[in-house]
């Protein structure tokens, strides 16, 4: 996909297993881990795996979904506007939407779950709960979903189709999701250690939701040179030479020339993708410290791009970026920052996400 033109970021926020943006950022700086070993199938038990649930929420499905209060709390932080009106479109992104509800219906037969079980029904319900109008676009592209929302929102703004755009991303884990990753053997009893060169990889899964308000010319920050790239190589695997990662970073690298950067990587804790991603980032930005926060928060799937954008903004505002919580030496590259560091002296952060099937996304965030 061609890179999107630069766009201003007016506001961003998130909610994670550690709380809201400020609470999450502060806890990450303290090196706290939201992930805790929990039964992979909730009330049905199973192996203990690292999960991070928001606000004391239970993994098991309810009707309506028990994550609604978390979404409502997050939505209260969105600057008030006529969201969902023709000039204030909303781009909703998720990887799983309400698929847990569909699985709950499949298992228990309670038709009450069906009202949230498909992406369209789930988003329509969410829009009603949050008071949005009908100009709501639903997008999904696995774990780069949030980046796709940011890119399309930027394009709508530059095409004159919107004056202000809201990107809203959410993914709340459920037994369907945890069971699926567990079957893949990448969600196991080990805590994730992003970018660690060790014999066995593992990820954690976490709740996450976030928002970003974009406009053409207002806001303290700029998101520039957004890039999306799909390898079209294999429906689960990346090319072994890492060419897909490098191809995605190319446009961002060009836009970042001359800047002193830090890097917020995807870094889930899997070995193969972690090795490829860190090598590509090290080649493109050899001096920049690299962090991932999924060793604490878990992977919030399709929402991670916006969740981590909000945390990157908070890092710049407060002058300190959390390190790679849960990471351990030796790492795939010496650039991996295990400890927190000052963002002073840096004039931009490159944020990346990657997804199943060789989908890659990146953008550069700077002060306006």
């Amino acid at each position: 996909m061609l890179p999107a033109a630069a766009v201003r970021l007016e506001a961003a926020g998130c909610i994670t297993g550690l709380g809201d943006t400020a609470a999450t950022h502060a806890a990450l700086l303290r090196g706290e881990r939201a992930l805790a070993l929990s039964p992979v199938l909730g009330a049905e038990g199973g192996e203990l795996v690292p999960l991070a649930l928001g606000g004391g929420r239970n993994l098991d499905e309810t009707a309506p979904p028990n994550w609604l209060p978390l979404v409502q709390r997050l939505a209260a932080a969105i600057p008030a506007d006529e969201w969902g009106s023709p000039t204030r479109p909303v781009f909703v992104t998720s990887s799983n939407f309400g698929v847990g509800s569909l699985y709950a219906f499949r298992r228990g037969g309670d038709p009450g779950h069906l009202a949230y079980g498909t992406p369209s029904l789930c988003v329509e319900w969410l829009a009603r709960q949050l008071g949005w109008g009908s100009t709501v676009t639903t997008l999904s592209h696995a774990c780069v979903s949030a980046h796709l929302g940011l890119t399309l929102a930027a394009r709508a703004l530059h095409a004159g189709l919107a004056e202000r755009a809201l990107v809203f991303s959410f993914d709340f884990i459920s037994p369907f999701v945890t069971g699926g990753f567990h079957a893949l053997k990448i969600l196991n009893a080990g805590f994730p250690a992003p970018y660690a060169d060790r014999p066995t990889g593992s990820i954690g899964l976490g709740d996450g939701a976030g928002f970003a308000v974009l406009s053409r010319d207002r806001g303290e920050f700029t998101i520039s040179a957004q890039s999306l790239y799909n390898e079209m190589h294999h429906f689960t695997a990346n090319r072994a030479d890492g060419a897909g990662f490098a191809a995605c970073l190319g446009p961002v690298q060009a836009a970042a020339s001359g800047r002193r950067l830090w890097l917020k990587g995807h870094g889930t804790g899997t070995l193969e993708a972690g090795r490829l991603e860190s090598a590509a980032l090290a080649a493109a930005f050899p001096e920049a410290p690299l962090v991932s926060w999924k060793g604490s928060l878990g992977h919030s799937l399709g929402s991670c791009g916006v969740v981590e954008l909000a945390l990157a903004v908070e890092s710049i505002r407060t002058g300190r970026a959390p390190g790679t919580v849960g990471g351990v030496a030796p790492c795939f590259t010496p650039q991996v920052a295990l400890e927190s560091f000052s963002t002073a002296g840096h004039d931009g952060v490159v944020c990346t996400s990657n997804a199943f099937g060789g989908a890659h996304a990146a953008f550069l965030l700077t002060h306006a």
Binding site: A183, L184, K185, I186, N188, A189, G190, P199, T200, G201, S202, H234, F235, T236, A237, T270, L271
Partner: protein, 91 residues
């Protein structure tokens, strides 16, 4: 005399993955299962692992362990023998 576990594993692979034009007896003991002439991919590996866990009551804990176990029919047989209840093994 053929190893009955290896013979059983070859049959399981052909039937579980619905391999067309491949006979169990054609599978080599030592050829890599993934990334070889069989053209198996990660989804096939997942399907195979789930079947093996059910069939032999074993647990494959990580994708790295799965990769080692699926190194070849011989690797797989060795892995299963080291983990499974002997009563569940053929012959």
């Amino acid at each position: 005399m053929p190893d009955p576990l290896k013979t059983k594993l070859k049959q399981l692979i052909v039937t579980t993955l619905k391999l067309e034009d491949v006979k169990a007896e054609d599978l080599s003991d030592d050829e890599p299962l993934i990334g070889s002439g069989l053209n198996l991919d990660s989804i096939d590996a997942l399907e195979l692992v789930v079947t093996l866990e059910k069939e032999y009551g074993i647990k494959i804990k990580s994708s790295e362990e799965s990769r080692v176990a699926l190194g070849s029919i011989s690797h797989l047989a060795e892995f299963i023998r080291s983990r499974a209840d002997p009563a569940r093994l053929p012959g």
